[in-house]
């Protein structure tokens, strides 16, 4: 075999500049049986980067549970899929665009949404919802305000234009994210199970096409390398690699792709994400166990004089790689024409297991497909718990430490802290109604979509608590899953499965690696206990900057099912005199809580213990109560504890109503009001139903306490503690972010 070597010879400096170790380079030579040329080296450096190759995470991710009767497609494809009955499947995945968003927040966030949409429609599913999970530094920093505004605009403009409702998400502000914001986007799609299409290049002799946008020098050594190295202060250097999103083209690509899949003309299809043409072609061949060859000179370009290297590694957006029977080419072209998209045949599927690239018929790369995908080196190591954990855990409150904290003032502080305050400023910029299926939109514990043509409803949420994971990686990981499940249960849904986005610092550092491994263990345990397998996900390492690593922040996107949408639990369904029940009983755990952070400015202690058995039992109890028609409305107890949950429940009620809380007198009220112990919900039940509800809960052996009632005086009372005016509290929640965003911003 001859490989054209018109590239300069590869030397050790070049190898190092490509982020490969000497060991890795030797492995490449062994796989090839010769030295790679420069183009091949570039290809390896991207495919073996952390972002594409999952070097540090792959072995650990294998421990996540990913099977179950509900799983139609587990990890490994462009997105996961689960069965929701009636022959339908839900396809979903989450992905990060942290570094691109740090460099250029608007385009970074927009192209993040674009990428996750393509991951879903490439499977043949029609996207029906978007969600996002965001982390920024504190809003008193003008650059943080700039990032926040532009990220939200980028997410909104892209999804709005394509016409997919953004129905939920979360935003947390903490100094830990100042140098490195997190932008995770999740997309959910639906299809008839029979239509599920995989990213396979099967059938030697079949043709390979590029569909969609032309290829420019976007993101060459962009996303993949950005995502595989820490953000240095001179991010200016990585600037030229920013990609511009084109949501209009995306919409055309979406419609054309679905039509193509429906027509049966496409055998396999995959979007070109990180490492563009290289990763999509090699992954499609790997899945099919075939080889693939194509000529880069046939790829439509946006710019003159692009080298094979640039074409192979370009991350231009809104492009798909399609494998089809060449006899059906006319059909393919008709569909592409209908949607005004370019579609160009660039090569074919082969049977020799080689990834072969030509330029004007001259061979420029010949690499065994599996060398690019399966042979990626993986690293596993055993590490000790970092020292910082011991000092955090040694925290214990001084006697009388809360004497000067007035509970209702603390509640007001919590409710208006940007992380807990109303996110209306954000979600009013997102179209959350388009497609006319949004039954519960942003602002509740979880979003609920009607599944048209059925009685069913789909519940969606995203959750994660980086501070918890920082303070105890195992518990934090497990609690993220538990909190997501509680969000779904609180709208009456049964949790089915998750996708995750694992945002961590540099995994080559021991303390970060420990956080990663332990958080993953927590996620895995919780997913097993709650029967919510992981069907897709994404790892984002190197989230650190000169101000240090971000909090380890796994975010969990969870999907649940409501059999009969009429039985959803919705905000605000309560009347004066209804009883408040605290299902799961009192808690008093303040370690690592929002109360400590927002009111006292401390990050210390450990997050609450994880009781997965109770999480499951109490969730089942809520669903049983609802099935029996006993619940008015419900809120899970999360950040800010009972006090905040009750306030949020109140904000959902008709204006004029209020709540009255009772807490047992024995301990100080702070812990009971603000403790964040898990597996808990506040529900309202009609006065007449109270005893039936109590009986049912007792039968299910769930600890429950009557904790107050709905009042008619538009006030928030805590018996023996004090009261606050509802509209004042609500206004402080609603105005917190808009007020902060009225201040000036800085793009640096």
């Amino acid at each position: 075999m001859t490989v054209t070597l018109h590239d300069p010879l590869v030397n050790p400096e070049i190898v190092a500049a490509h982020g490969l170790t000497t060991d890795e380079y030797e492995q490449i030579c062994a796989l090839l049986g010769r030295d790679p040329n420069l183009t091949e080296l570039g290809v390896f450096s991207l495919m073996w980067s952390e972002h594409c190759g999952y070097k540090h995470s792959r072995a650990r991710l294998a421990d996540l549970p990913s099977t179950g009767p509900q799983v139609v497609q587990g990890p490994g494809e462009n997105a996961g899929a689960i069965d929701i009955g009636e022959g339908l499947a839900i396809v979903f995945k989450m992905e990060s665009h942290n570094h691109p968003s740090a460099v250029e927040p608007y385009q970074g966030a927009a192209t993040g949404v674009g990428g996750i949409l393509r991951d879903v429609f490439t499977m043949g599913a029609r996207p029906i919802a978007l969600l996002n999970s965001l982390r920024f530094g504190e809003l008193d920093d003008p650059h943080v305000r700039y990032l926040f505004r532009r990220v939200v605009a980028g997410i909104g403009d892209y999804g709005n234009c394509v016409g997919i409702p953004t129905v939920g998400g979360e935003v947390v502000f903490d100094d830990a994210y100042r140098g490195n914001p997190l932008v995770n986007a999740m997309c959910v799609g639906i299809l008839a199970q029979n239509d599920l299409t995989r990213g396979v290049a099967s059938g030697p002799g079949n043709a390979v096409y590029v569909l969609g946008a032309s290829t420019g020098r976007d993101g060459i050594h962009g996303a993949s390398l950005l995502a595989s190295a820490e953000l240095a202060d001179d991010t200016a250097e990585s600037r030229p690699t920013v990609q511009v999103g084109d949501p209009f083209s995306e919409k055309l690509l979406l419609e054309a792709t679905l039509e193509l899949i429906e027509s049966g003309a496409a055998i396999g299809i995959q979007d070109m994400g990180a490492a563009g043409l290289t990763s999509s072609s090699s992954e499609m061949a790997t899945r099919a166990g075939t080889g693939i060859e194509f000529d880069v000179s046939r790829v439509p370009r946006r710019e003159p004089d692009m080298s094979p290297y640039e074409v192979l590694l370009s991350e231009s957006q809104e492009r798909m790689l399609v494998v089809a029977d060449p006899h059906r080419e006319p059909q393919l072209m008709t569909i592409a024409d209908k949607w005004d998209l370019a579609c160009t045949r660039i090569g074919s599927v082969t049977d020799d297991g080689i990834w072969r690239v030509f330029e004007d018929c001259e061979e420029v790369c010949a690499i065994p497909v599996e060398a690019l995908t399966e042979a990626v080196p993986t690293y596993v190591r055993e590490v000790e718990p970092p020292a910082y954990l011991a000092s955090l855990h040694a925290w214990s409150p001084r006697p009388g430490w809360l004497d000067c904290v007035e509970p209702l003032a603390a509640l007001a502080t919590l409710i208006s802290a940007p992380s807990l305050a109303s996110k209306r400023w954000v979600f009013e910029q997102y179209d959350h109604h388009v497609r006319t299926a949004t039954v519960i939109g942003p602002g509740a514990d979880a979003a609920v979509l009607a599944i048209k043509g059925t009685q069913r409803g789909l519940a969606l949420t995203i959750d994660g608590n980086g501070r918890y994971v920082y303070c105890d990686p195992y518990r934090g990981g497990a609690l993220a899953v538990a909190e997501a499940a509680r969000n779904l249960v609180a709208v009456g849904a049964t949790p089915l499965a998750i996708t995750d986005c694992l945002n961590f610092g540099n995994p080559e550092k021991d303390d970060i690696y420990y956080q990663f491994v332990e958080a993953l263990r927590g996620i895995a345990d919780a997913c097993r206990a709650l029967d919510t397998p992981v069907v897709s996900g994404n790892v984002s390492f190197y989230n650190q900057s000169s101000v240090g690593a971000v909090y380890p922040t796994p975010t969990i996107g969870m999907v649940g099912l409501i059999q009969d949408i009429e039985k959803r639990i919705y905000p605000g369904r309560a009347a004066v005199g209804d009883r408040l029940l605290l299902v799961g009983g009192d808690g008093a755990h303040l370690g690592a809580s929002s109360f400590l952070k927002e009111v006292l400015g401390e990050v210390a202690g450990r997050p609450p213990t994880v009781d997965l058995k109770a999480e499951r039992m109490n969730a089942e109890a809520i669903l049983a109560l609802n099935e029996a028609g006993l619940i008015g409305t419900c809120r899970d107890v999360g950040d800010g504890g009972l006090a905040v949950a009750a306030a949020e429940l109140m904000f959902g009620l008709e204006s004029g109503l209020g709540v009255e809380l009772e807490i047992p007198g024995r301990a100080g009220p702070h812990a009971l009001l603000f403790g964040e112990d898990g597996a808990r919900y506040v529900v309202t039940v009609a006065e007449d139903d109270e005893s039936r509800a109590a009986e049912l809960l007792a039968e299910l052996e769930v600890v429950t306490r009557a904790c107050g009632r709905v009042t008619g005086d538009a006030a928030y009372h805590v018996v023996d503690v004090g009261s606050a005016n509802r509209s004042v509290l609500q206004a402080s929640s609603e105005t917190s972010i808009p007020n902060a965003m009225r201040q000036t911003e800085s793009n640096r």
Binding site: A213, G216, R217, S249, R302
Partner: protein, 85 residues
Amino acid sequence: MKARVEVHIQLKPGMLDPQGETLEHALTAIGYEGVRSMRVGKWITFEIEGDESDAVESQVEEMCDRLLANPIIERYEYHVMREES
């Protein structure tokens, strides 16, 4: 001292300009053939009043860098036209 300022902003060369591309197609479709390399940028005009006339240029440049343009993806040009006063 009073001056009229014009700032022109465009995506850097080589960056995809979806608006320009779409508009170029649309013009071709309605019969204006031969239109190429269309880019849609911004044109910002304003007046500025200040004491030291020398400082205006550097001030405008700073404004462009910090707020008017996004130097990461855009390039800009400005012209300052001093007015008699």
